[in-house]
């Protein structure tokens, strides 16, 4: 059973093709790594899947709904964490969570319990009334991830969630990802870190708008005759 089915998705900006006719499927509960160099079209593809960007052509079914005709339903079922931190800087940790939880119509009592659960898990309980502008980047990223999970989405889209954070926070972040995946949430993640790519169950590599490869990290290494994902990546990016 696939929860993401992408068929011939294309996005052109004028004469420039950012995403060129890509097709792939992602299984429910899978951690799917979406790799590619800067400008390969990862963010554009992700934004189309989240309903933030209109595709030029092609279709997709996200969480069982059609991207073109049922985008409202899709939005209820997905969580999204943008490349750029985009929670409100001038609200506190708790205010941000309450705001987004409310927009997703999580019942009040239930929402408070979930927020408390997340904050305890993140060890941020005693900082819950701190303005987000004053907390370190690592906390911000974990907060953004937890906020994206508040309404119990079926799929979470993470756009370079760990760029710029230190290795310890990255490890903590990945344990959060595993935990969510274990609860059945599908994780769709873009990253630049090749070690992170090997944490994924399956990965794909995009270059210049094309989807070059897709498979488990081990399969792909054997298929291309390389030892590390790093080599795999450079192979496509340099071509």
């Amino acid at each position: 059973m696939y929860t993401i089915e992408v068929h011939n998705l294309t996005k052109r900006f004028g004469s420039f093709t950012a995403v060129n006719n890509i097709s792939f499927q992602v299984k429910r509960g899978e951690i799917f790594g979406f790799l590619g160099a800067n400008g390969a079209g990862k963010t554009t593809a992700m934004k189309m899947m989240c309903g933030l960007l209109l595709p030029t052509s092609g279709t997709a079914r996200i969480a069982g709904y059609d991207l073109k005709t049922e985008s409202k339903q899709i939005k209820k079922e997905i969580g999204y964490m943008s490349q750029r931190f985009s929670l409100y800087d001038d609200l506190t940790i708790k205010e941000n969570m309450t705001l987004f939880g409310t927009i997703y119509k999580v019942p009040k009592q239930e929402l408070n319990e979930r927020i408390e659960g997340h904050l305890t898990e993140l060890n941020l309980m005693k900082h819950k009334d701190q303005l987000v502008s004053s907390i370190p980047l690592g906390w911000k990223q974990k907060l953004a991830f937890s906020t994206a999970l508040l309404h119990h989405p079926k799929i979470v889209f993470l756009d370079e969630p760990t760029s710029g954070v230190d290795p310890i926070v990255r490890r903590e972040f990945w344990s959060l990802i595993y935990k969510a995946a274990a609860q059945g949430v599908t994780i769709f993640i873009t990253t630049h870190y090749m070690d992170e790519a090997s944490y994924c169950e399956r990965i794909s590599i995009m270059a210049e708008g094309d989807l070059k490869l897709i498979g488990t990290p081990t399969e792909l290494k054997i298929q291309m005759g390389v030892n590390t994902i790093d080599e795999l990546f450079t192979h496509f990016v340099n071509r």
Partner: protein, 371 residues
């Protein structure tokens, strides 16, 4: 409903944490009210005048004395030649020169025609115009006070006099016009400027993307933005109204409720305009420029500084698209004339139409997708 309440709460939390915005909201009306009404004033108080008496008669001297005793004029003494006259005008030493020709008195007594020449330094046309009026008034007053013994020709001349009575603003107090005008400017700025910048800022820092990825409905987002800024605008208006009544002593002739109701509608127009601008502009700079551009046109055409009646036809047509001119009308009519709802009905209707139109346009221009 819960979502909208949450959005309103969020907006207020942000507004009250934004020190710059808060100080603008508090300081702007105070500064505008404390400076503008005192400086934007068409009344001319200090008119300097020089005399060129070629007659040296009792009559000419009496007239000159009369001017010297008037509080509107500053006496700049006498001049004695054409060269001096030019010099004085050229270097802006005087605004007016009053010239009595030779044999002035003799001619007047004989009932012949004689002329006093008034030369105005018209570099400031307003001063020249109003000053001439003052001078004519003083001359008329002089001859009237001399009723007996006044030659018939002068009597004839003074028998026609123009009396100005300014209705609804009897003392020609410009504050009575400027202060309500500033109220209009305040409400306009809060409504359009602050909202436009607020939303474009969300675009710039990317928070709007996080909102757009949620299942929130467009109108919910708009209403959630609209209500807080509407409340702020109304509060700002009420503060302005209180300042107007208690600090400037301008009482509201009409009904305060009517005034508040009209403001509520006008604010909706301005908020919608702010939304529309924020959705079509890419960054705060663009939004600021568009608002500023519209604002200048609105103010100039609104009738605050110059009467709309004197504008060319095409400007009047443009004014039909200028919500500020309708609101300015309402404010002046209700505050100064005591107009009731019936007298301002057409303006209110037009503003309501504009409010609906611009907000629909805003809703349509708000796309949760980037193209």
């Amino acid at each position: 409903m819960r979502i909208i309440l949450m959005l309103i709460k969020k907006e207020f939390l942000q507004v009250f944490r934004n020190r710059l915005l808060i100080s603008i909201l508090i300081v702007a009306p105070l500064v505008q009210f404390l400076i503008f009404p005192f400086t934007a004033d068409y009344e001319i108080k200090h008119i300097s005048i020089a005399f060129w008496d070629q007659d040296h008669s009792t009559l000419s001297r009496e007239i000159i004395e009369h001017f010297r005793h008037s509080s509107h004029f500053i006496d700049c003494g006498f001049i004695d030649s054409e060269a001096e006259k030019e010099e004085a005008l050229l270097h802006d030493h005087v605004d007016f020169i009053l010239q009595f020709p030779p044999h002035f008195e003799k001619q007047m007594v004989r009932g012949e025609e004689s002329q006093i020449a008034i030369t105005a330094n018209a570099i400031n046309s307003v001063k020249a115009g109003i000053g001439s009026d003052y001078i004519k008034n003083v001359l008329t007053g002089f001859f009237e006070s001399k009723e007996e013994g006044t030659p018939p020709s002068i009597k004839k001349m003074t028998s026609i006099s123009i009396n100005h009575i300014h209705w609804y603003n009897e003392k020609m107090n410009y504050q009575n016009i400027m202060v309500p005008g500033i109220l209009v400017i305040l409400v306009t700025l809060i409504g359009s400027y602050v909202t436009a910048l607020n939303i474009v800022r969300e675009k710039e820092i990317g928070t709007i993307e996080q909102i757009n990825v949620t299942p929130i409905l467009k109108w919910q987002f708009l209403v959630g933005k609209m209500i807080p800024f509407w409340i702020l605008g109304m509060l700002e208006f009420i503060v302005g109204l209180i300042l107007m009544v208690f600090f400037f002593g301008i009482s509201i002739q009409g009904s305060t409720t009517t005034l508040l109701g009209a403001t509520a509608i006008y604010l909706l127009v301005m908020l919608g305009l702010g939304f529309f601008i924020s959705f079509v502009s890419k960054n705060q700079l663009q939004a600021m420029f568009i608002v500023f551009f519209l604002f200048v046109i609105y103010v100039l055409l609104s009738g605050l500084f110059t009467p709309t009646e004197g504008m060319p036809e095409w400007a009047k047509w443009i004014n039909f698209a200028n919500p500020m001119s309708f609101y300015m009308d309402i404010i002046k009519l209700v505050i100064l004339k005591g107009a009731g709802l019936r007298e301002i009905a057409s303006q209110v209707l037009i503003l309501s139409g504009m409010a609906v139109g611009i907000n629909i346009a805003a809703l349509l221009s708000y796309s949760d997708k980037i193209n």
